[in-house]
Subunit: 308 residues, 2 copies
C-alpha cells in the first residue's frame, strides 16, 4: 500500500446545469481527488482548510473513506471556500458566478508528519505557492509529484507556477491550458515544450474528447466513455487526477505502461463523476460498477488488426 | 478481391490554410475515396462527372491507381465542379468562398454494367437523389451500402436524404450533423436514433477528436493520430470513408470486429491526408508508411489492465 498526499481545496459548490441546480454541496479539488483515490489500496491524507461552517457530516464522509484529515484545518469563525457556477447548454463551458476564497485566502498548508515521506504527492489546483510549500515540506523526494493547475494561475502567477512545474514529474492540464502555457497549437508540440519545463510525463485532458499521455516519443490516448447523459461535469478533472494518482500510489510503478493504466483508471472514474451532481455518484461507488466499466473501456478501444 | 462502387464529386479545389494556399488542384469526394480505397485489394469504379477542362493528367492518375473510370463522364465544353475554401486558424472550421456546380448540376449517374453487382457501394457526399439513383441501378443488393452526407442536404433535401438513409447499412456523419439529424445532443442517443432510420452501423466522425462506431449496444472508438502539424484538413473525411469502404470491400466481412478494423484503417489513412494540400500526400503513399502508422495507432490505444 502506497502513501498518497493530496493538497487542494475542500469546498462548497453551488452548481447549475441544464438539468437542475443545487444549493451549497460538498466540492473542492482535494475532495474529488480523495474520493477517487480511495478506490485503490492507498493510505491517503488531505491537506486543506475549511471554516467551521463545514458540516461534520462531510468530514465524517472523508474519514469513512480512510482519508487522513489530520491536516484538514478547521478555522473557528471562518467560512469555507465557496464556488458557484452555471454550465452552458452543451456542458462544455461554464460561467463562474461566485468565488469566495474565505479561509483559503490565508491557507498555510502543513503536511502531516507521517506523510512527509509519501510516495506520491498530488497537487490539486491551487495557488502555486501553496503547492510549492507542500513540495518543500517533503523530507524525502517523492516517487512522483503530480500537478494539476489551470489557466487562472498562468494568467496571474506564471513565475510561481513555473517553479512548481519544474519540480513536477507528471502534469495534468487541459488542452486550452497546454496551448496557453506553450503558445503551441499542436498538442504534440505543446507536450514537447512542457516536458522541457520539468515534467517527464504530460497528460492533456480534453474533457469529453478524452485524455492524451505524452512521454518522449510515446503517446497514449484514452477516450472518455460515451455516455447517454452527462449530468454535471464538476469535479471530473479532479476525479480523473484522483484515480490516476491513487492507482499509481497503490501500484508504486512509474513505467509508461503503468501510467497508461493510470490514465484508463482515471478516465473510468471520471465517467461516473459526471453522472450526478458534485460528489453524489462517487460517494458510494461500488467496486463491481468500476470493474464493469473497465470492461466497457476495453471493448471501446481494443482492436485486433494483423500488423506487418 | 471485392468490388467497390464509388459515387461522388471529382472536382477542382482551391484551398487556403494558415500555412499557404493553392490554385485549382485535384479534389472531390470520389477522388479522395478512390485514392484511399486503392490501398486495398479492391476493384473499384468511380461514377462522376467533369468538364473537358479537367486535365488528362488527373484522369491518368486515377487510372494508374486501377480505378475504373468508364463512368467518369467528361462533358464537352463543360466545366468541372469547383470549390474554394479558406480555413480558420485552428483548422477546425472553414468558410466556403466559391461553389460552382458546373457540370455537376445536370449529373445523371450511370453505373458501369460490371459494377451493378458490386459488393460495397460507397455513396460520397452528393445530392441524395443522385445517391439514390445509384442504389436503384444495382441489380443485386450490395453487401454494404455506405453513405456519407452533410448538413447541406439536411437543410435543403431532408426528405430525399431520409430515403437514402433508409437504404443504407452504414452511415458516416460528423458529430454536429448527427445532432442536427436527430435533435439529440448526446452522441449515444443520436446514434440510437439514426439506427432507427435504417443504418445498422453508425460512424460519427469528430475530426481531430476521432471517430465513434455504434451498433446496437456495441461502441468502438478510434482516435485521430496526434500529429505535429495538421496542414490541410480537406478530404480527410472522404479519405476516412475511402479507407473504411476499401478495407470492407477487400475483406468482404461485415462483422462488428471487422468494421472496427475498417474504422482504424480509415483513421490511419486520414492521418496522412491532412499532412499536405489536397490529394498530394495520398498520391504516392507507400504501403510501409501505412503499416508503420498502424503500429503507432496500436501503441496509441492498446493497454493491458487486468480485468476482474
Amino acid at each position: 500500500m502506497g502513501k498518497l498526499l493530496i493538497v487542494g481545496t475542500v469546498a462548497f459548490d453551488a452548481i447549475e446545469t441544464p438539468f437542475g441546480k443545487t444549493d451549497k454541496i460538498l466540492g473542492g479539488a482535494a475532495t474529488f481527488i480523495g474520493l477517487a483515490a480511495s478506490q485503490f489500496d492507498v493510505q491517503s491524507a488531505i491537506v486543506s482548510i475549511v471554516g467551521d461552517d463545514f458540516p461534520q457530516e462531510y468530514i465524517d464522509l472523508l474519514k469513512n473513506k480512510n482519508i487522513d484529515i489530520t491536516s484538514l484545518e478547521v478555522v473557528k469563525g471562518g467560512k469555507t471556500f465557496f464556488w458557484k457556477g452555471k454550465y452552458h447548454n452543451d456542458l462544455n463551458s461554464r460561467d463562474t458566478l461566485v468565488t469566495e476564497l474565505n479561509t483559503l485566502a490565508d491557507f498555510k498548508p502543513v503536511v502531516p508528519q507521517n506523510f512527509t515521506t509519501a510516495d506520491v504527492v498530488m497537487l490539486g489546483n491551487l495557488h502555486p505557492d501553496i503547492q510549492m510549500s507542500v513540495i518543500d515540506q517533503m523530507t524525502k523526494r517523492p516517487k512522483l509529484v503530480i500537478l494539476d493547475t489551470m489557466n487562472f494561475w498562468m494568467d496571474n502567477t506564471l513565475e510561481e507556477l513555473m517553479r512548481v512545474i519544474k519540480h513536477t514529474d507528471i502534469i495534468t492540464i487541459n488542452d486550452g491550458e497546454a496551448r496557453q502555457l506553450t503558445h503551441e497549437y499542436s498538442l504534440v508540440k505543446a507536450a514537447e515544450e512542457i516536458q522541457k519545463m520539468g515534467p517527464k510525463y504530460v497528460v492533456i485532458k480534453k474533457g469529453e474528447h478524452g485524455a492524451l499521455l505524452f512521454h518522449k516519443d510515446d503517446v497514449f490516448f484514452a477516450p472518455a466513455l460515451p455516455l447517454e447523459e452527462v449530468f454535471d461535469p464538476t469535479g471530473a478533472g479532479d476525479t480523473f487526477a484522483g484515480g490516476f494518482a491513487g492507482y499509481l500510489a497503490a501500484t508504486g510503478n512509474a513505467s509508461f505502461n503503468n501510467i497508461k493504466n493510470a490514465v484508463i483508471h482515471g478516465s473510468n472514474l471520471a465517467s461516473f463523476c459526471v453522472e450526478r451532481f458534485g460528489t453524489e455518484r462517487m460517494v458510494d461507488l461500488k467496486r463491481d460498477e468500476i470493474n464493469k466499466r473497465l470492461h466497457q473501456f476495453k471493448a471501446l478501444t481494443q482492436f485486433d488488426i494483423e500488423l506487418q
